[in-house]
Symmetry: C2
Subunit: 398 residues, 2 copies
């Protein structure tokens, strides 16, 4: 995984511009285009209230082949009824017409405020300028144009040898609030020049998302617009990736490392966050018990507020474990913060001051928990709860 | 329901003193005593990690008859192992010995910080002074001595004619954080001079709690120490209350009105809260759907932060409804804030400014939601998410 550069993916061009949807004048319109039909797979929000662009993309992606994605920020086009559905289609077809490509070959995504009609004329009126912005190294610009409350743009990139060729996987993401471990809690677009069929790409994307996008939590809220979309155009010339095969594992792992990097950037940028918190639960009776325990700790606002204050308040961890429903041996539980044991056999170790120092010194907190009952484990990531979270979310629109 | 006075319950005496558990010197030790054996019923935290005093009370209440309850604040005696169990027993037996009453007849409750050994000698060393503080009008003092982060003491009282006599029901409660709709999320002690058997008292208490203590939420966290205990000593001389009977309904409703008042005082005192929020969902396909929808809205920090900011952000309500899992007809959904319609048929009504005014003017926000699909309804109460919630919970111990 290359943390510094965002590799161009052969056969793809991207771009981003300001269309005026955001009053600030910041970039708010992005386009990603493959030179030829690309294999497409997507994971979409489980929220029953789905935005119009999500519903349109879900329908179009079924065919397994698309040319690209148009995305706007500043307006979610959610809870906008018939007009919203027409606006999503207009947004896609204006791009298809300007590019002279097949109708139905562009996917859509939107992110921003819910319930306000999309000012679609700002998109259609600027579509030519958007198309002229397409460049082989334009993914970074697209990444900037999909931001909302994000403090920084998010991207990740990797190159791996697969099927005798070098395959590139590059992705961008946005997300800082309404982030909860239930697919899919943000927007992410991942491009690759791997050669792969639609069902195999879908399988790899699902597997990659489980321990990455589905294992992060900022505020327990799943949005109406979230989508993770992967496009693969085969331009690397690699042998076709089939599952299960050695090449498949290499590709899935590359995809996963890009997804993990993007997911962790989202946690790091959690609204108002000052700390990234990794919670690993081991010793669970079952995988689902370990997961439930880890998620409940990650969702506790009391735990998250304590970390903001640099307080090694393990009592709140125990209370969260207890209400999670996971089986637990209270007299065997262990908890540590950044490697300082604070609970052993369910009791205070008296190392509170040391633990407080270990939390305050670092921008990351590693919480290790042993339920003391079995062999299953699970890891989730979250951020702390801060004054700025309240400020951002009490002042978002007004 | 008498909102201003806390009626004495014949046959009960209560008291509260400062024992030095709280460094501030504030009252931290309370005792409630019935002149004779009282019928007792209790509802206890569902958290798997239960504090020692909870485990002891659960065991002792099985007999159905007790003399009283000793309660300390400032220390939860939770996650304290064998020593904690011995301390809880010592706390009870010191009261039993000082009062010269049967061993095993006093229940225990503790509230405060988790994981720190209880300084039990402060309780045993002050037990005589605590017993001397017992007075017929001492319930108010007991109410003060059980406070932790509470901004004010909480009590409720009612007198009703049952079985030919006037029956009194008076209660006290504490709670401001770690409040989530899952029995029992705080401490409440309710006294009555009604004549009633243990199973009937338990049934009435369970029914009363469902729409009151189990319908409030501050921060989704269920504590390790929560308990609601009702004591009935029969001193009113009323005919014995049996279910189902007219007298039963009158008693259950009286109990419920006291529980509701206490529950709403807890919401009003939600840590850092500036607004009490009532969320009523109707039009649900089933009662559980309506409840799930109402609870998910009440648990959304984005919704709660928006109300703090006076922002009528109905998009966040729709997003919460969508992820609740409740069935919903998006094209029929209606939402109003303090009687101002903001969503009709799933769409914005354009009355945002009016709604913002209606929210900002009042200390209470009434949120009415229609899922548009059936006839079931549910109501829950919550508070807003504020800077002070973060301040209180990031600085609680350090």
């Amino acid at each position: 995984l290359d943390k510094t550069s965002l590799h161009n993916v052969p056969g793809f061009r991207s771009g981003g511009i300001s269309s005026g949807i955001k009053k600030s004048g910041a970039p708010d319109l992005a386009l990603i285009l493959s030179d030829i039909d690309a294999i497409a797979a997507g994971l979409f929000t489980k929220n029953r209230v789905k935005a119009a662009p999500v519903l349109l993309s879900m329908k179009r992606i079924r065919g397994g082949r698309v040319r690209g994605i148009i995305v706007n920020s500043g307006n979610a086009n959610a809870c906008t009824g018939d007009r919203g559905r027409k606006d999503a289609e207009a947004m896609a077809s204006s791009a298809e017409e300007a590019l002279g490509i097949r109708k139905g070959s562009i996917l859509t995504a939107s992110t921003g405020v819910i319930g306000v009609p999309l000012p679609v004329e700002k998109i259609t009126g600027n579509i030519k300028r958007l198309c002229s912005s397409l460049r082989h190294n334009g993914l970074k610009d697209a990444g900037k144009a999909i931001m909302t409350t994000d403090a920084f743009p998010k991207s990740a990139s990797i190159r791996v040898p697969i099927g005798g060729k070098t395959v590139t996987v590059s992705g961008i993401a946005k997300g800082a609030g309404m982030i909860c471990p239930q697919m899919a809690t943000m927007l992410a677009f991942i491009l690759t020049d791997a050669k792969i069929s639609p069902p195999v790409l879908k399988k790899a994307l699902k597997e990659a998302a489980e321990d990455t996008f589905n294992s992060i939590n900022v505020d327990n809220d799943t949005s109406t617009n979230d989508a993770v979309i992967a496009l693969a155009n085969g331009a690397s010339g690699c042998a076709e990736i089939k599952a299960p095969q050695k090449g498949y594992n290499a590709f899935r792992d590359a995809l996963k490392s890009v997804c993990l990097r993007l997911a962790l950037l989202i946690v790091k940028d959690g609204e108002g966050a000052t700390k990234a918190i990794r919670i690993t639960v081991k010793g669970g009776r079952s995988a689902s018990d370990a997961r439930r325990a880890a998620r409940t700790v990650a969702q506790s606002y009391l735990v998250k507020a304590a970390f903001f204050g640099g307080d090694p308040n393990w009592g709140r961890i125990l209370a969260a474990l207890g209400r999670s429903g996971a089986r637990i041996r209270e007299d065997r539980v262990r908890v540590s913060f950044n490697s300082v044991d604070v609970v052993r056999d369910g009791l205070d170790t008296g190392r509170e001051k040391e633990a407080a120092r270990a939390i305050r010194e670092k921008a990351e907190v590693i919480v290790d928990i042993d339920l003391g009952i079995g062999r299953s484990s699970s890891t989730v990531w979250t951020s702390d709860l801060t004054y700025d979270y309240v400020r951002i979310n009490s002042a978002y629109r007004t």
